[in-house]
Symmetry: C2
Subunit: 329 residues, 2 copies
């Protein structure tokens, strides 16, 4: 990717407002912090304003608390004051929720650096390249091109971004270049083990007990291609946990050889939700859509507000079986 | 490390007998296969004879079934026939069990390439360097020095070796060089995601159910620094699993912030076993030793043949608490 236009924008402006998508992950926060440190190294002014609060497990990436949570009253005017608005790790303005109009309507220079597909054409400075495994790698290449040294802080931020979005360097878009970038970042003395533990080793007794009861509930369908688990309100109460603690649980279904679709049913106040995951070309978003849900091909969800899991469980599993048979023809 | 002596031995000999330690892991098997393919590329003869069977989840690394399980009758004479005996990923001859004497007493050239500490001086060709994160990286550097191309098969073998022994590139001995080596291996077109899934995504319904019941049994001690779990004979029966299926379970204890020691108690026919894990400098091997067990500082085990878990549980937890207090002074 040609970064010369971005570099020209950075060099010819003085103040930058950086933001990222709602519910930011480590690629979002890490890319923001990397970009922020870059701007600060150039002795220019930078602010990070996000719609969502920084997740607790990423707070270590922002030791000086520079990331601000969006507040309409105090932040609105900044969108018309900063020289450049920088959109990192997202490509559609709907992804910044209530900041959308402020961003869109600003007359200032806008810059988007992202690796997701299907960008919205909200600026002429749209640097979107889905061949990158992470936005962190794009920020890395930008900094390299500018011949700025990677210091410890930049390296830690970008390492976190790249490591998480590549699934510890194993997802399909991980390339030789990914590893060459990481080799460079490690030269600063960052500690990969510590970064990993900060991000992932955030279990609690309640959460692991809850994972336990959901794994214990795991069952297969007749064809042994669908695995499904269940979490009840009672499970949450007993383990003193909430729905956020179930993040990632459904993925355990796909760690079994031969399993093509995994589901986690989750009892809500008056109904239930289900998370669906699949491998290959099984479109769980289409299955979810039949029940009013949606999502991506391999990761989707549905929600039924007044019903019991038991009323739908068999029906949904049967419907997935039909998809699996269709796929096999 | 200076590989010139190894290269000279390889170049001036024709037949190689390669072996590794009992219960081989991916670094053992991957390094063997990488070395094997190297020798075959040089049009020399190579055989791999291991004391243990190849683990099922590593069979993909040996598509042509070249690895043989040791058989005293048919294999003994080979130790006096091959030009060179190659010890990979181990540094003490006791680690090859009943092949030990055959290896030791052979008059042929012996070569040891390994990254573990405290090597036994069983050959003058002892190439042991614990600064390497994996033996696979030593084989990588050897092949690089010889200016032999990394083909797909060598790359897949060495990737599996390096990825697993570095915990997906996060353990402490992972360096910039590790990533530079991996960058080179990826150029051959190997598929990291597929290799990861072959090795790690080998769950079964029974195993995940068993993991569930052990996580559900997890408790903390009073200080919230020790987490412990329990697996009963009944759990195994209900999930149709065996002790091998519990590999890695104890590590879940250490995914919790603040937990310094994790234990898995495991009911046996007439007694029980316990696996202990710790972080930092807490010597769980010394604690295990007090009950007749042993191991490494951060990973140890003990076994009591006639007793109930309940008779010892509190005692052992109390003893660990004392160590934790001692550590803090």
């Amino acid at each position: 990717m040609d970064f010369s236009k971005i570099i020209q924008i950075i060099n010819s402006n003085d103040s930058f407002l950086i933001t990222t998508h709602v519910n930011p992950d480590a690629d979002a926060i890490g890319s923001e912090m990397g970009f922020y440190y870059l701007i600060r190294k150039l002795n220019k002014s930078a602010k990070i304003i996000n719609y969502s609060k920084i997740p607790y497990y990423l707070e270590f990436l922002d030791p000086d608390n520079v990331i601000e949570k969006f507040d309409a009253v105090s932040h609105s005017k900044l969108f018309d004051e900063a020289d450049v608005l920088v959109a990192l790790d997202f490509q559609q303005l709907s992804r910044i929720s209530e900041m959308q109009d402020l961003f869109r309507n600003s007359s200032k220079i806008k810059l988007c650096i992202d690796h997701h597909e299907f960008p919205e054409n909200f600026t002429e400075n749209l640097f979107v390249d889905p061949s990158y495994a992470s936005t962190g790698e794009m920020v890395f290449d930008l900094i390299s091109e500018m011949k700025i040294d990677f210091d410890f802080q930049i390296a830690e931020s970008l390492y976190a971004a790249i490591m998480t979005d590549t699934g510890s360097f194993r997802y399909d878009r991980t390339t030789s270049e990914t590893h060459l970038r990481i080799a460079k970042l490690l030269e600063t003395g960052i500690n990969p083990n510590q970064i990993y533990k900060e991000i992932y080793d955030q279990g609690s007794l309640g959460k692991l007990n809850l994972l336990g009861s959901s794994l214990l509930s795991m069952k297969f369908d007749k064809s042994n291609q669908i695995a499904y688990m269940k979490i009840t309100k009672d499970d949450l109460m007993k383990t003193n946990t909430s729905v956020e603690d179930t993040e990632g649980f459904v993925n355990y279904c796909l760690t079994i050889k031969g399993i093509k679709v995994g589901l986690l049913f989750f009892e809500t106040e008056t109904g239930f939700k289900a998370s669906l995951r699949s491998v290959g070309k099984i479109p769980v978003n289409r299955i979810a859509a039949e029940y009013g849900g949606g999502g991506h091909m391999n990761a989707a969800g549905l929600r039924i507000d007044v019903a019991k899991i038991e009323d739908y469980e068999e029906k949904i599993i049967d419907r997935i079986s039909q998809y699996l048979k269709g796929m096999e023809v």
